[in-house]
């Protein structure tokens, strides 16, 4: 074979090889039937929980293996950073664990790729054991099933620095309750501190638009709608705050971690958080802890925002009965309740929030935060649409930043964000 032809043939093989990986995904392995004997080796993956809760999960697994002697659970834990990337690599490589800790936005692409077991079919009998809203949080518009067991819920109050409020001439015992109060107090704080203390550290996210009462998606769930008059109104208010330095100048590049640090150092007067943060304040900023004020999330809808964690079963598991049984075991009322006693989270199982642990005061701040959060969770909403992907979040954030910098009007910015999000939604 002449040299040039040989080179050509080698190049053709090199080109064809990767193309062969570009076919349609096979639906190999796995069964939807969870009714068989609970046995076999399964893998359970959690999301950054080993460092703090190793004994809890080891006991949990031991309990399951004791109940089902034929089953064996291998526990793996992944760090918080890059968790979606780890999941996508596993999913693409066919090595997704049998039972996976997920959030609703992570379930959506996995379900659409056929990798999440439909629990409405495989585990319908367990549905009534969970709060209806929590069960529904893993339903994906455009599909008909439910793709993860709801696990723990979380919500949190708004923390504020009483000393900074006092310095700005604001009543430290009367924190803002409405958006109008919040905007007025923030402007006063900026004015009195000569722009050195901001009240807010983050630009508005999709949750903030939801909490402000902006419709996020159309009724059919086929397109986004947060560019309506209400959305423009919220962004216009934030622009006013940004111009007055009532919104931190570094908010455009802030992350939840960086804004948390700014709150710790007294550069920012208010910050959302959870009961977990109280321990952090006590340990890392005792001065702030002495002056900490706690108030409810501000909302125009009457519904606080909640975060939902779920436990998904890989639809391609070779041990569906064991995987479903274990996912339910992790998320049943008894185990969620015992997990909630170890860390400031809230069970998603029906009736658990009526437990005295979530209703009876003992005079400590931690309990006060826990009781208030449990109360607000009863009608809380997970505002983030499950189809709102990371790329969409980035697009919204960038457009919001342009509006705050005055490069676009709030209306133009939100129109552009909706256009991009709709395009990404159509692309699937």
């Amino acid at each position: 074979m002449p040299k040039s032809r040989r080179t050509l043939a080698a190049a053709a093989v090199a080109l064809i090889l990767p193309l062969s990986a570009c076919g349609s995904g096979d639906d190999d392995g796995g069964t939807q039937d969870a009714s068989g004997k609970v046995e076999g080796d399964i893998t359970f993956q959690t999301w950054n929980l080993r460092a703090n809760f190793k004994p809890y999960f080891e006991d949990l697994i031991a309990g399951f293996e004791h109940k089902y002697p034929g089953a064996h659970v291998k526990w793996v834990d992944q760090p918080a950073e890059g968790y979606p990337d780890k999941l996508s690599a596993d999913a693409a490589g066919g090595t997704l664990p049998d039972v996976v800790n997920v959030s609703p936005d992570l379930v959506a692409p996995l379900a659409r790729a056929g990798l999440a077991l439909d629990l409405d079919k495989a585990a319908a009998s367990f549905k009534s054991a969970y709060l209806p809203g929590a069960w529904a949080s893993h339903q994906i518009p455009g599909t008909s099933g439910t793709y993860a067991f709801p696990w723990y819920l979380n919500t949190g109050p708004l923390f504020y620095n009483k000393a900074l409020f006092q310095k700005a001439g604001l009543d430290p015992d009367q924190p803002p309750k409405t958006y109008d109060d919040l905007f007025a107090d923030a402007l006063q704080m900026a004015r009195k501190s000569d722009g050195k203390v901001a009240t807010l550290a983050n630009v508005p996210t999709i949750e903030d638009f939801g909490r402000y009462g902006v419709p996020l998606m159309n009724k059919e769930g086929t397109g986004f709608a947060f560019n309506d008059a209400k959305g423009v109104e919220l962004l216009t208010e934030y622009k006013r705050l940004y111009d007055a330095k009532a919104l931190d100048p570094q908010a455009l590049t802030a992350t939840p971690e960086s804004s948390g640090k700014k709150f710790l150092t007294g550069a920012v007067a208010m910050n959302p958080g959870s009961a977990l943060d109280l321990g952090n304040f006590k340990k890392n900023a005792p001065g702030l802890y002495k002056n900490i004020g706690i108030t409810d999330q501000i909302t125009s809808t009457g519904h606080a925002n909640m975060y939902v964690m779920g436990v998904m079963v890989n639809s391609r598991t070779e041990h569906t009965p064991a995987a479903v049984a274990f996912a339910h075991f992790v998320t049943d009322a008894q185990h969620q309740m015992s997990f909630a006693r170890k860390v400031a989270i809230f069970p998603s199982t029906a009736g658990s929030l009526d437990d005295p642990y979530f209703t009876e005061e003992d005079g400590t701040d931690e309990t006060r935060v826990r009781i208030a959060a449990a109360k607000s969770l009863k009608n809380a909403v997970n505002y983030t649409p499950v189809l709102f992907s990371d790329q969409m979040k980035t697009a919204l954030r960038n457009e919001v930043a342009k509006a705050l910098q005055g490069k676009e009007s709030p209306k133009e910015a939100l129109d552009n964000a909706v256009e991009t999000a709709d395009r990404l939604l159509r692309q699937g």
Partner: protein, 295 residues
């Protein structure tokens, strides 16, 4: 005793056997991913969904993507800002530490330390220093200049990231220059000095011509590295790429577009192909400039 035919056959295969381990590694970790990226760039492949052939659609989309042009602008500006500094400053630094005087090893090591420091650690330290309430701003405020938004202004952020890249790269290129300077004949300097050339004249007429090929090498290496910048900008501007994403570089855009469960692998591959093409052009330009100088 081996027959001539056997020897001939062995001569044919032996070189390939020696090269096999290297070829295998290169083929698996360089060539296959490269070809795979080329192929993916012609598909609409997603992270979890197999793609279909879409021809040049991804490349056409690039042309209408504002973020692509922002990334291309920032990566190009990075080359323009960083490369001249990394060609000249390490040479001056190498001249400073070239002489064997007592204690010079300490300075050589000190200048080299940023090279071995983790980029994440370095990035975080600079973020703390340049923060609105960081050390640099406190000093500026003390001397009456007032706070500067190093991490909130789009251009200052890019400049700050460039400064970190230059600071971190100085030691590495200094070592390369030290090796080159060691080969410059001392007689040339002595002859120039006898002819009455001062230090600046000797630098321009003796040192620079003697290390010119090393300067080309440094320019080539640093321009490719600068065009592919990711860590410094990602750490200082945040995952969103600075205010409104205006500090996003091309490689950051590849990462943001192609990763995650909803990643657009096809589109990100097209972006990667563009990055590859531009770096090849950069190398060719530098080498061509060198050849023109030689003739």
């Amino acid at each position: 005793m081996a027959t001539p035919l056997r020897i001939k056959r062995q001569r044919l295969f032996s070189p390939w056997l020696f090269a096999a381990p290297g070829l295998l590694v290169t083929g698996t970790f360089v060539l296959y991913p490269f070809v795979s990226t080329l192929v993916n760039s012609l598909t609409d492949r997603r992270t979890l969904l197999p793609g279909h052939f879409v021809g040049l659609a991804n490349f056409r989309e690039l042309l209408h993507d504002d973020m692509f042009w922002t990334g291309l602008r920032n990566s190009s500006l990075y080359v323009l800002g960083v490369v001249p500094a990394l060609v000249v400053l390490p040479l001056l630094l190498a001249l400073l530490v070239q002489k064997n005087i007592p204690g010079i090893t300490f300075f050589r090591s000190a200048f080299y330390t940023p090279v071995v420091a983790s980029i994440v650690v370095v990035g975080l330290i600079w973020v703390w220093l340049l923060d609105e309430r960081g050390l640099v701003n406190s000093l500026l405020e003390t001397v009456g200049i007032g706070r500067v938004g190093f991490l909130s202004d789009q251009w200052l952020l890019l400049l700050s990231a460039m400064a970190v890249t230059v600071w971190k790269g100085l030691g590495y290129y200094m070592i390369i220059y030290l090796a080159a300077l060691a080969n410059v004949p001392r007689e040339l300097h002595e002859a120039a000095a006898v002819d009455g050339a001062g230090p600046v004249r000797r630098f321009l007429s003796v040192t620079v011509p003697a290390v010119r090929s090393t300067m080309v090498l440094v320019a080539a290496l640093s321009s490719v590295a600068a065009f592919k910048v990711f860590s410094e900008v990602y750490l200082m501007a945040g995952p969103s790429g600075g205010p409104a994403g205006e500090d996003t570089t091309l490689v950051m855009l590849v990462q943001r577009t192609g990763t995650g469960l909803t990643g657009r692998v096809g589109y990100a591959s097209a972006l990667s192909v563009v990055v590859f093409a531009v770096t090849v052009v950069l190398m060719l330009l530098v080498l061509r400039a060198d050849r023109r100088e030689e003739t």
